[in-house]
Structures are given as structure tokens and as C-alpha cells.
């Protein structure tokens, strides 16, 4: 059961803290990361009902600044940053010229001509090379700033209350997908009202040497409310919230439109990487779509399992789990566009036996606002 890693795993600045507080660590995207603290079910439920904290310092950061920074970000990502105010963030995609997904990213507008891109850990090196190459002709600096930030996600209905006790920044005034600069537990921080769990909460960027201090301060301030969580709960939470995981639900073989991220494309803006392919695909309609499904019979449809309709294999499951909160087996799958209609009956081939499932609307879970 032990894997011999070809290259040494990277560790976040909180690695020692995770080990000493009893987390179980596993390799993820080249990093030795906590997969579980108290258990995926307990952690998932804590985030849905109170709060949980995740170390997501493995995520990559790339900054683009300079005279043509806005034009550069417009060119290399799909969403329209002309509509993004300073102090706001949005989801965007690094698309290939064919319109497929190289990575999904968050774009923060730090200043008029200064953008911060938060990218997936496993893609960080590749993304940096790709962006640098695409932006060679622009008057803008592209810098990998991953080592300058540790990133803590505090998520759940009580997350803001707890973090508010540690900062003078009024968290309630930060809009959803907005951010503010200030101090958290005495550490210089950028506090972002974002997350990957489907709950309210914040993601806090702090200097790496302050991460442990902030981590401890949040746990102390939130004693009995906030528990430390691992990547397993992060995965079940994001799936319940219908959020895609790059490399699993989408990659460079699936288009932005197939993955259902057309809402993160600035259709009004001029040409950008992938625009020609995506506009053409939008006109004719994608051939297949990523949909949510619910199992109607026992079993969990997992990544790679075939989706069956009328006795034919018509698609593949990309993510699947038994969700701790909704207590049912759910997942996402690619199916032909004609079948991508809520209520459609399909089957999932679970290790040779076809179990009944039905297409449902995403997300599976939406918090009350």
C-alpha cells in the first residue's frame, strides 16, 4: 500500500503542524497533504453546520502586472476582466487554442494593472510556462509568486464570526467574490470571500512565516466551532456544491463549454486564446455536457465508470461519492447533449453491474442565503 515517489513531495509551511496534530497525510498533486483530520464525514458536516479550516497553500499563485496587464489577462484567460473591479475576483479558465480546459483559475484584480491568478497545485508549473509563453508580446511582467503566500480556507456558516474576532477588517462588508487587505491575528493578510465548499467563508492569504500563527489563532478563537479539515472533505464538499475539479471533471480533452463553464467566458470581449474554437462551438452547441447524476440503486459511480443508456455506453463518470450531508450517492459525468436533461434515466456500470441513476440539476447542494 506504500507508493515509492519518483520525486520528493513538496510540503506546505504547515506540514509539521499537520503531522503533529494527527492528520493523515497522502501525496496529492506532488504535495504531501493532509487528507483527513477527524474523518471525512465529521469534517464535511462541520463545514456545512459550523466551520472548518483547510490548508490550501499548495495552490499556485501567478501575478501579472504592468502597462498591458489587463490586455494580457484578457488574452490568456476566458472571462472578461474589463468587468472586474479592483477588489473583486472571478472564476476564469486558461483555455487551449482548441477551447479545452488547461486549468480553472481565480483571477483577483489587486489594482488596475495588477492581477493575481490562483491556479491548481498540480498545474502551477505548467500554467506559469503557458502564460509566460502566451504573453511574450505583452508589456506585462508574469511572476510565479507561489512561495510568497500561504493560503488558509475557513469555510462554513460560522466561519466569518470566528475570523472576525481576529481582524479589524469588517468581513460582512466584503462582498461574495470580493477581497480586502488587512491583518488577521497580527499577520498581514488578504482576506477573500471565496471558497470551494459551497458555504460562506473566507480564504486568507498570509506570508508563509505567519501561517502557523494564523492557523493556531483560528483554531483557538474557534474552539468548539472550527475543526481542521483535509482534502477528502474538500473534495466531497465541492462535489456536493457542483464545483468542478480540474484534472478530474475537465482537462485538455474537454472543452470549456462541455464542462459547463460558458458562464466564465467573456463572449463580448475581443479575441483571446481559444475564442475562435469556443465561439464556433457555442454556435453549434457542445456535443456532450458535464451533468450531475444521482444513483437510484445501491452503489457509487466513480471516476472512469461508464455511463449507459439504452444498452449503449454513452459517457463516463468524472467524479462520484457518497455525500456525508445529503446522504446519497452523487456524481458528475459527461453525456451526449441530448441526454443532458434533468430527469433522464441512465445507468452507471459499477464494476460490471449496471445500477440505475438519473441526471439531476447542479448543484446538488445550495446553501440558504
Amino acid at each position: 500500500m506504500t507508493d515509492v515517489a519518483a520525486t520528493p513531495l513538496k510540503t506546505t509551511v504547515l506540514h509539521a503542524r499537520h503531522k503533529s496534530s494527527g492528520a493523515r497525510l497522502v501525496p496529492f498533486a506532488g504535495w504531501d497533504m493532509p487528507v483527513e483530520y477527524s474523518g471525512v464525514t465529521a469534517e464535511h458536516l462541520a463545514v456545512r453546520t459550523a466551520a472548518g479550516m483547510f490548508d490550501v497553500s499548495h495552490m499556485g499563485q501567478i501575478e501579472i502586472a504592468g502597462k498591458q496587464a489587463m490586455a494580457a489577462v484578457q488574452h490568456v484567460s476566458t472571462n472578461d476582466v474589463a468587468t472586474l473591479a479592483v477588489g473583486r475576483a472571478h472564476l476564469s479558465v486558461l483555455a487551449s487554442p482548441e477551447g479545452t480546459v488547461l486549468d480553472d483559475i481565480l483571477v483577483y484584480r489587486l489594482a488596475a494593472s495588477h492581477f493575481l491568478l490562483v491556479v491548481n497545485a498540480g498545474n502551477a508549473t505548467k500554467d506559469f510556462a503557458w502564460i509566460s509563453q502566451q504573453l511574450a508580446g505583452f508589456d506585462a511582467a508574469v511572476v510565479d509568486t507561489s512561495s510568497r503566500y500561504a493560503l488558509l480556507a475557513i469555510q462554513g456558516p460560522k466561519a466569518l464570526d470566528v475570523v472576525q474576532t481576529l481582524t479589524a477588517v469588517s468581513l460582512a462588508e466584503i462582498p461574495y467574490y470580493g477581497f480586502a487587505h488587512g491583518e488577521v491575528a497580527g499577520a498581514r493578510a488578504t482576506i477573500s470571500r471565496t471558497g470551494y465548499t459551497g458555504e460562506d467563508g473566507v480564504e486568507v492569504f498570509v506570508p508563509p512565516n505567519m501561517a502557523d500563527r494564523v492557523w493556531q489563532a483560528v483554531l483557538q478563537a474557534g474552539e468548539g466551532v472550527v475543526i481542521p479539515c483535509g482534502l477528502a472533505a474538500r473534495d466531497t464538499l465541492r462535489l456536493e456544491a457542483g464545483m468542478r475539479l480540474c484534472g478530474q471533471d475537465m482537462d485538455d480533452t474537454t472543452t470549456v463549454l462541455e464542462a459547463g463553464l460558458g458562464w466564465a467566458v467573456g463572449w463580448e470581449k475581443p479575441s483571446f486564446v481559444g475564442s475562435e474554437a469556443l465561439r464556433a462551438e457555442k454556435q453549434r452547441g457542445p456535443a456532450r455536457r458535464l451533468v450531475g447524476f444521482e444513483m437510484l440503486e445501491r452503489g457509487i459511480g466513480r471516476h472512469g465508470y461508464p455511463v449507459v443508456h439504452d444498452g449503449q455506453v454513452v459517457g463516463q463518470v468524472t467524479s462520484g461519492t457518497q455525500t456525508p450531508f445529503l446522504k446519497k450517492a452523487i456524481g458528475m459525468a459527461y453525456v451526449p447533449a441530448a441526454l443532458a436533461v434533468p430527469g433522464t434515466a441512465v445507468g452507471v456500470d459499477i464494476r460490471g453491474r449496471v445500477s440505475a441513476a438519473q441526471i439531476v440539476k447542479l448543484p446538488f447542494y445550495r446553501r440558504a442565503r
Binding site: 500500500m1 474523518g39 471525512v40 477528502a232 445501491r298 457509487i300 466513480r302 461519492t321 457518497q322 456525508p324
Partner: protein, 124 residues
């Protein structure tokens, strides 16, 4: 930690033998690796299992794994309580038997690990 009255396999199942009947479950190490168990799929009584071959599946939130028979024989009982309350396996792995098997080849029991060797396997 690992009860001395049980025998263990390299695949992290345990066996409790009484007469010619063997109870089979998964070890504490196995449940820790799996995380929260949500499904168990077991054979029907009367089915024949073969040592080293898959006889069922155990599924956690994170992953699905096969259950491997430590010994050969006929399944004479299955623990249906685990099907409705699979989380019992996480709480009490070494008493959560899954199937009872009437052992057809007692010699196979000699190939299983004792608690000491199994402990070395999972802590080494």
C-alpha cells in the same frame, strides 16, 4: 492493538477461527486507510469463497476496495447489520465480522500472519 487471538492477511483482513468456522473482517489498519465506510457488499450464504480471491467489496467515501478471502470454504452466514450500519466497521473493526466461512482447507490457516507479524507489516 491487534488482538492475538486473530490471524491476519497481507491484504488487511482478519480471521477468528472457532472449530471449522472462520469469521472474516477487515483490520483497524484497513479501516483507517479507507476512511468512513459507506457500503459493504457481501456474498449470499451458500456461496463458495476461495483463499486469495475477492469475495465482496468495501466502499468508503473516498474509494472502493475488494475484500479478499483469507481462507477457502462455504459462506454460512453474513453480517447484515454491517450492510445497514457500515460505520460500525470504522468504530469496531476487529469485532465487525463480515462473513462466516466453513473452512474447507484448514491448511490455509497456517499461511496467515499472527498479530506480531501483522503489526510489523503495518507499522514497518
Amino acid at each position: 492493538m491487534y488482538p492475538s487471538e486473530l490471524k491476519y492477511t497481507m491484504d488487511h483482513e482478519w480471521v477468528r477461527v472457532e472449530g471449522d468456522v472462520a469469521e472474516v473482517g477487515v483490520t483497524d489498519f484497513a479501516q483507517q486507510q479507507l476512511g468512513d465506510v459507506v457500503f459493504v457488499e457481501l456474498p449470499e450464504p451458500g456461496a463458495t469463497v476461495t483463499a486469495g480471491q475477492a469475495f465482496g467489496t468495501i466502499e468508503s467515501v473516498k474509494a472502493v476496495s475488494e475484500l479478499f478471502a483469507p481462507v477457502s470454504g462455504e459462506v454460512i452466514a453474513t453480517n447484515d447489520a454491517l450492510v445497514t450500519r457500515p460505520e460500525t466497521i470504522n468504530a469496531e473493526p476487529h469485532t465487525s465480522w463480515m462473513v462466516k466461512v466453513r473452512v474447507s482447507s484448514p491448511g490455509e490457516l497456517g499461511e496467515l500472519l499472527d498479530a506480531e507479524r501483522y503489526t510489523a507489516l503495518v507499522t514497518g
